[in-house]
């Protein structure tokens, strides 16, 4: 079924378009908006929709989608967990946290739990090195992590929606 935005999201898209001198500049913000409205992934329908709305070719939009890490080209879990494993976090135990998460969730990095609830990923530098180790869960940062704290966070995700 073709993708479309609801009225509130359409209003947000109009607001985004009003910020720029041309429509193309809205490409990335529009893709974010649509991705969120499409269970956090960019399908071919989403690409076609954005291309049509912004008067771009689907090839251009596809090119943008494939360039950036945060556009999901497959449907992820309901929650997305990124554990930063770049140097400052690694110096404070990030690699152990990654292994801990893999064990706790029963998945490897890049995979989603069988119930479709959580996708585990590693991140390259989340710019929170002074409070390492750090992970991002959906839109929130969790800093100065310990394995106990990670367990509490994952428990809440597993128990919650």
């Amino acid at each position: 079924m073709a993708f479309a935005l609801n009225a509130e999201h359409e209003r947000q898209l109009e607001d985004i378009l009003s910020r720029y001198p041309n429509k193309m500049a809205a490409c990335i913000p529009a893709l974010h908006l649509c991705q969120e409205a499409n269970e956090n992934w960019v399908s071919e329908d989403v690409i076609a929709f954005v291309a049509k709305r912004l008067d771009l070719s689907t090839a251009h939009v596809q090119g943008v989608v494939t360039f950036y890490t945060l556009f999901n080209q497959k449907k992820p879990g309901r929650h997305q967990v990124w554990v930063c494993h770049t140097l400052s976090c690694a110096l404070r135990g990030a690699e152990d946290l990654v292994k801990h998460c893999e064990k706790r969730l029963g998945v490897h990095v890049g995979e989603t739990t069988k119930d479709g609830r959580i996708t585990l990923r590693t991140a390259e530098c989340l710019a929170a090195c002074g409070t390492a180790p750090v992970m991002q869960v959906d839109k929130r940062y969790h800093e100065n992590l310990t394995t106990q704290e990670v367990d509490r966070i994952l428990d809440r995700l597993i128990a919650g929606g």
């Binding site: 910020r19 990335i28 556009f71 494993h85 400052s88 690699e95 390492a132």
Partner: protein, 447 residues
Amino acid sequence: MIKLTNYLSHSYGKPDSHKLSAYEAAGGYRGVRKALGMSRDQVIDEMKKAHVRGRGGAGFDCGTKWSFMPKEVKKPHYLVINADEGEPGTFKDRSIMELNPHSLVEGCIIGAYAIGAHAAYIYVRDELHLSKERLWGAIHEARAKGYLGKTPFGKDYEVQVYVHTGAGAYICGEETALLNSLEGRRGEPRLKPPFPAQYGAFGNPSTVNNVETIAIAPTVFEVGGDEFSKLSALHGLNDGGARLFGVSGHVKKPGLYEAAVGLTLRDLIYDLGGGILGDRQLMAVIPGGSSCPVHLADEIVNSTDPRLEPYNGKPFLDLPLGVDTFRNAGSMLGTCCATVMSDATDPVLALHNVMRFYRHESCGQCTPCREGCGWIERILNKIVDGKGSIVELDQISEIASDITGNTICAFGDGAAQPALAFVRKFRKQLEDYVHTGGKSQTGRLTL
């Protein structure tokens, strides 16, 4: 010498510090009033006097950069703020956006006025959701008060500020990649020239400034350019004022510290940072983000720059952190956020970690960088597994040298520099991996 300041950080740790009321109660939006009372040229001159060296890593003088914009405004000019912070080890801009967003908004008005722009775009990396929320909040508050809009502070000079977001790509911190990304394209760097001041955002004259560079502008006008510059111990080297210093890794008190320029790595690690975790010895430090060369604890300054003569023969840790002091001592200041490694760190694993980052983040546009970063990582994969050879170890330096200077943007050099420095300074440890699988190394990055 440590001279702590709080121009940007006065609000850190205070409740509601991101709100307009708190910002104004602390004296906010006074600098912009002074700036708008001056002519455009006077604003640029004042900024030049302050010697604010770009805080994003390149260290270019902010006032000079502003002066490159065409005097006559024939097409719309744009101010673009680089808030795509993501250089490993760097974490200062986020604190400004989350805890003191109005300083950036105020700075945007000053910057836009100085370069003849009526619109400023703040390009924030997507992961920083709280930063975006706080910036939009600050923009809405400033608009409601009339500080942003048609007549900021009664001046007939429209300024609008917008938050734009990326989608996860370190390369978009490179200014021309950022401009492409702002325009809705893949974030691939552009060839220079033309420079952004001639052909920037949407093909129009543009200036790209770092968050901290713009956020400190209100302070410059509040205290005066000269006065601000003289806070710095390196005022004589045209490296003025105060800035945020970060320290992360194996220190007891990692975090951000705001201080006058002139601080040394020793001050940052042992005084502000509280010393090495577990009271271990310092092995090495990367001064300002992972693109900078790594330095051993016992390195000695040996510079041909006559201005650095007083530091020659003295420990590198005692060299004041400045753009030119570091550049002319064979290093790079970068973002002034140091990553500290104790003697428990396995330097081969540290290099492997850093090079994995560059392989992941190379945009793929230029062959030497795309192929070279991948090649170096693959060699290091083998070395870490104890399956590498001395020939391959030597290849790392060759590949890195072949990347240097052969790419469109500075990412290539930024990826090559750590490889070259680690291989030169930790040759023994790398050879140990080749010969014995790293038996004498710790095999750990954590303590």
